[in-house]
């Protein structure tokens, strides 16, 4: 059963990668990377059960946190055109 899950996750990774390569707009690509991160998290979890080491689940949780922060940073870049001090770039923009 875990094998089926792993294979379907790999297939969905290929599909998401195809969207990442082709993606006409930037938002397609942001969404593709975000879904790819989610698929990575799921795959690590499934891999743990597949190889009989469910303690991989903790690592998968950490990846979920990184993925979230990374997506927030990318979207913040879209909104403000800067990563660090947003107030300073707002002043520049005005």
């Amino acid at each position: 059963m875990f094998l089926v899950a792993a294979v379907s996750l790999l297939v969905s990774m290929v599909i998401v990668l195809a969207r990442l390569f082709a993606g006409p707009t930037l938002y397609d690509r942001v969404l593709a990377v975000n879904s790819f991160g989610t698929l990575t998290v799921l795959f690590i979890g499934v891999l743990g059960f597949l190889t009989g080491r469910p303690d991989f689940l903790d690592i998968a949780l950490l990846y979920a946190l990184i993925n979230f922060v990374g997506t927030i940073a990318i979207l913040k870049f879209f909104r403000y055109r800067a990563i660090g001090d947003v107030s300073a770039s707002r002043e520049l923009g005005q």
Binding site: L10, R29, V33, G37, T40, G70, A73, F77, I83, L92
Partner: protein, 192 residues
């Protein structure tokens, strides 16, 4: 068998991602691709049982590097210039280096082999002695923080210095920009 198939699938995706990143000229897409590349290599490292290395790869490669490259894109152009020279010589250099590395792996011990130098060297002694010498349950932590404590301290110093240097560079750039902006405003007021 299953792990070989998974490794094969992951490596194929890794190679395709790398080729796509080299071919696409839109730099924002390349940053996104490099994030996916890091996640894929982290997955490969997890399948190789190197979860700590994999975690560093995911945090640094997919997390910090993506953010840093986006910050760079905010300061520079978002499109790559079309190179004027042919990539034949770099390609040959890369192929020769890759062949040398593959040649170097030929006489390496098998993955997880008990006779590999990593297992027959000092590792057994560390495993035996660190619980009562250091008293830390994690042997890697015991080696890093105690047996090689000064080495780790030096590394931390290097990383700290680099971080302080980058912060000073960036803050200098920002104040200079703000000053230029204020000067522009003053000129505009004078003209108006």
């Amino acid at each position: 068998m299953i792990e070989t198939a998974i490794n094969f699938a992951l490596f194929t995706m890794l190679v395709v991602t790398a080729i796509a990143a080299a071919r696409i000229r839109h730099l924002f897409a390349v940053v996104m691709l490099s994030g996916a590349f890091s996640l894929l290599s982290a997955l490969l490292l997890v399948t190789l049982d190197a979860v700590d290395v994999a975690f560093t790869e995911a945090a640094v490669g997919a997390g910090i590097s993506t953010v840093l490259m986006l910050g760079t894109l905010a300061l520079t152009s978002r499109r790559e210039k079309i190179p004027s020279h042919r990539p034949t010589i770099p390609l040959i250099v890369v192929l020769v280096t890759g062949a040398a590395i593959i040649y170097g792996t030929l006489d390496m011990p098998n993955f997880g082999s008990a006779n590999s130098p990593a297992q027959t060297g000092v590792a057994a002694e560390y495993i035996e002695r660190s619980p009562h010498e250091i008293g830390v349950p994690n042997i890697v932590t015991a080696i890093l923080a105690s047996y090689r404590g000064y080495d780790t301290l030096g590394e931390t110093g290097v990383v700290f210095t680099a971080g302080v240097g980058v912060l000073m560079l960036i803050s200098g750039l920002r104040t200079r920009r703000r000053r230029e902006d204020e000067e522009d405003d003053d000129e505009a007021e004078e003209a108006g």
